[in-house]
Amino acid sequence: MKKEDTVKLISAEGFEFVIDKNAAMVSQTIRNMLTSPGSFSETQHGVVRFPEISTPILEKICQYFYWSLQFASGKETEFYIEPELTLELMMAANYLHT
């Protein structure tokens, strides 16, 4: 995997998730950060910090990104959501336009 094809998402606790750029771009918010010309430092370094999103939530979100890509390619499986994560996950999803 070439470095420019990946992005690093960093959780509130500093945990780093390196994922495919096209997976991360499932989120409209991240897509805007990575594609808007110039201004965002995220665009240049491919690193996005989420000081408001905890590690388990960010992990779940990354799983969703990949699940969503699979879904789009025709593999329609069920995406499991742990009840105890739901509310926090929603707030993150709201922020990420996901």
């Binding site: 969703y64 969503s68 879904f71 009840p83 739901t86 509310l87 929603m90 999803a93 990420l96 996901t98």
Partner: protein, 581 residues
């Protein structure tokens, strides 16, 4: 004959859909109640439809499924931002999972919309949780609920409400209305079908200075109450349809409402005298006077309305006398003159209405000679000639109306030779040829109309041979052939009409289970009727793939209700209406 009558009723014009398209909130009628309660149930995340659900949708879906567990764990949703709790409650309402208990979990969530229109079980005890949203609340729909006057008391704290619907709440009276006094931000108020409201109670309306839309349809006791609208100069839309208490004197207070754009007074007692009060309302775009005892003399007042583009005069007992005044209504785009006593003489005066896009002449005493006057109305998209004396000779005059999208020739004198003249109307999408004179030959003349989406050949004498033409109509969404001449061999020619959502083949008594096999690939079908045929329980098995089916009619067949119910529970989850039942 019974069938024919019921079909006629469906063709009535509905102003709300004409002007606004299908608008959810304020266009609900009581008759749609069963649809909502039945169809919304069990709506699931779309599977196999290609669109990926967002993470937000998945979470909301999850909460809806396990709502009780979430409420047990979190007690309420106040910790969520408003836009999220709003989405959760919307989902619960849409899927009919909201209960009085789960509503409590949304107490003090600062919600903006609580739209419980037609929602089952809503009563006074729900209102406290609703009004706890306080000044955040902007839109409330309680239509069709059992809310009473006492339910209105807590609601008065929500003084920012802009949209309020209390339609079909027949337990709310003048006393309940009093609590609307402080609703100075209210722009839309709907009180449809309330027989307890009187002129006295309506005095509260004079406080609602920002009101733009007011709906009092089918309120039978409001005579004399419209005086309280005098100061509501922002009012743009007033609906008092089917208020048979409304008379000429009720029109007087409307004369100063110069911002009115839409006025519906159909089925009231308003006469020419009352219409005269409307002369100054120069912004009126729509006037609906269907079924009012007015005559052509009112056209003098109407022609002063320079902005008028939509005029409904169906069922007004118009005769030709005074009809020359129609020529002054040059800006009209929609004119309904159906069920009037007018003849070809009147049609002369429509000649100059060059902006007309829709003309309804249903059941008028018009014939071939009158059609020549329509020949120049080239913008016409919709023409209704059902139940007139128009025949094939008249049809040639409309053969040049290239923009026609909808043409109704049911119960006219038009025969096969007349249809040959329609071949050039390639914009046609909807064509009604429900008439015994039409046969296979006529249908064969129409194969160039490949854009047709709706074709009604209900009573036409179409045989298996004629169905060969159907392959030209690949876009058909609805098809009715009920003349009795079809066998299974004819149905075979419908196999490729995969866009069909409605198929009616009833009265073809020779159709057998083979027909069911033949249509099993029409998976978009929502409504299927093959009553009066030889279909048996065995044939039912073939329609298992029709997962979208909501309505199935197999009356007078060898099919039992028990078998249909079995099929419903195993294979047809969307089926809500079926015969025999």
């Amino acid at each position: 004959m019974g069938g024919a009558c019921s079909r006629k009723r469906d063709q009535q014009v509905n102003e709300e859909t004409v002007l606004r398209g299908v608008n959810g909130k304020y266009s609900k009628s009581s008759s749609s109640k069963w649809l909502r309660t039945s169809f919304r149930l069990g709506v699931d995340i779309p599977q196999g439809s290609g669109k990926c659900p967002s993470l937000m949708e998945l979470c909301i879906h999850k909460i809806r499924k396990d709502i009780d567990a979430y409420i047990n764990k979190y007690k309420d949703f106040t910790m969520l931002p408003r836009d999220i709790s709003q989405q959760i409650i919307n989902e619960l309402i849409d899927s009919h999972c909201l209960t009085e208990v789960s509503l409590e979990a949304f107490r003090d969530c600062a919600l903006q919309d609580i739209n419980l229109g037609e929602y089952p079980g809503v009563k006074d005890s729900w209102i406290d949780a609703i009004s706890s949203q306080g000044s955040s609340l902007l839109s409330v729909d309680l239509s069709g609920s059992d809310v009473t006057d006492s339910g209105m008391v807590p609601l008065k704290d929500c003084e920012n409400i802009q949209d309020l619907s209390l339609s079909y709440c027949d337990q709310i009276s003048d006393n309940g209305l009093k609590h609307l006094r402080g609703f100075s931000n209210l722009t839309s108020l709907s009180l449809k079908k309330n027989n307890s409201i009187t002129a006295q109670g309506m005095c509260v309306l004079s406080n609602l200075l920002n009101l733009i839309n007011l709906d009092l349809e089918r309120c039978s006791g409001i005579h004399g109450g419209l005086v309280h609208l005098k100061g509501l100069t922002k009012l743009e839309s007033l609906n008092i349809r089917c208020c048979n208490c409304i008379t000429d004197s009720d029109m007087k207070p409307l004369s100063g409402l110069t911002n009115l754009k839409e006025l519906q007074i159909s089925c009231s007692k308003v006469t020419d005298l009352g219409v005269a009060y409307l002369k100054g309302l120069s912004k009126l775009v729509l006037v609906n006077m269907e079924g009012c005892p007015v005559t052509a003399a009112c056209l003098g007042s109407i022609s002063a309305l320079v902005a008028l583009s939509y005029l409904n005069l169906n069922r007004c007992n118009f005769s030709d006398d005074g009809c020359e005044k129609f020529s002054g209504l040059e800006n009209l785009r929609v004119l309904n003159l159906g069920f009037n006593n007018i003849t070809n003489v009147c049609l002369v005066h429509l000649k100059g209405l060059s902006h007309l896009e829709s003309l309804n002449l249903d059941s008028c005493r018009i014939g071939d000679e009158g059609m020549v006057h329509l020949a120049g109305l080239v913008r016409l998209k919709s023409l209704e000639l059902s139940d007139t004396l128009v025949g094939s000779n008249g049809i040639r005059h409309i053969s040049g109306l290239a923009n026609l999208e909808s043409l109704n020739l049911s119960f006219t004198e038009v025969n096969d030779s007349g249809l040959r003249k329609l071949g050039g109307l390639t914009s046609l999408k909807s064509l009604n040829l429900d008439s015994r004179q039409i046969t296979d030959t006529g249908l064969a003349a129409l194969t160039g109309l490949t854009g047709l989406t709706h074709l009604d050949l209900f009573g036409a004498r179409i045989t298996d041979f004629g169905t060969n033409c159907l392959r030209y109509f690949k876009n058909l969404q609805s098809l009715e052939i009920c003349g009795g001449g079809l066998t299974d061999a004819g149905v075979k020619n419908m196999k490729d009409l995969t866009s069909l959502t409605l198929l009616n083949l009833s009265q073809n008594s020779n159709l057998t289970d083979k027909t069911m096999e033949m249509i099993s690939g029409l998976t978009r079908l929502v409504s299927l009727n093959i009553s009066n045929s030889r279909i048996t329980n065995a044939g039912l098995q073939h329609i298992k793939p029709l997962k979208n089916l909501r309505s199935l009619s197999l009356e007078s067949c060898k099919v039992t209700a028990t078998e249909i119910k079995k099929l419903q529970s195993t294979s047809l989850p969307n089926l809500v209406s079926f015969r025999p039942e």
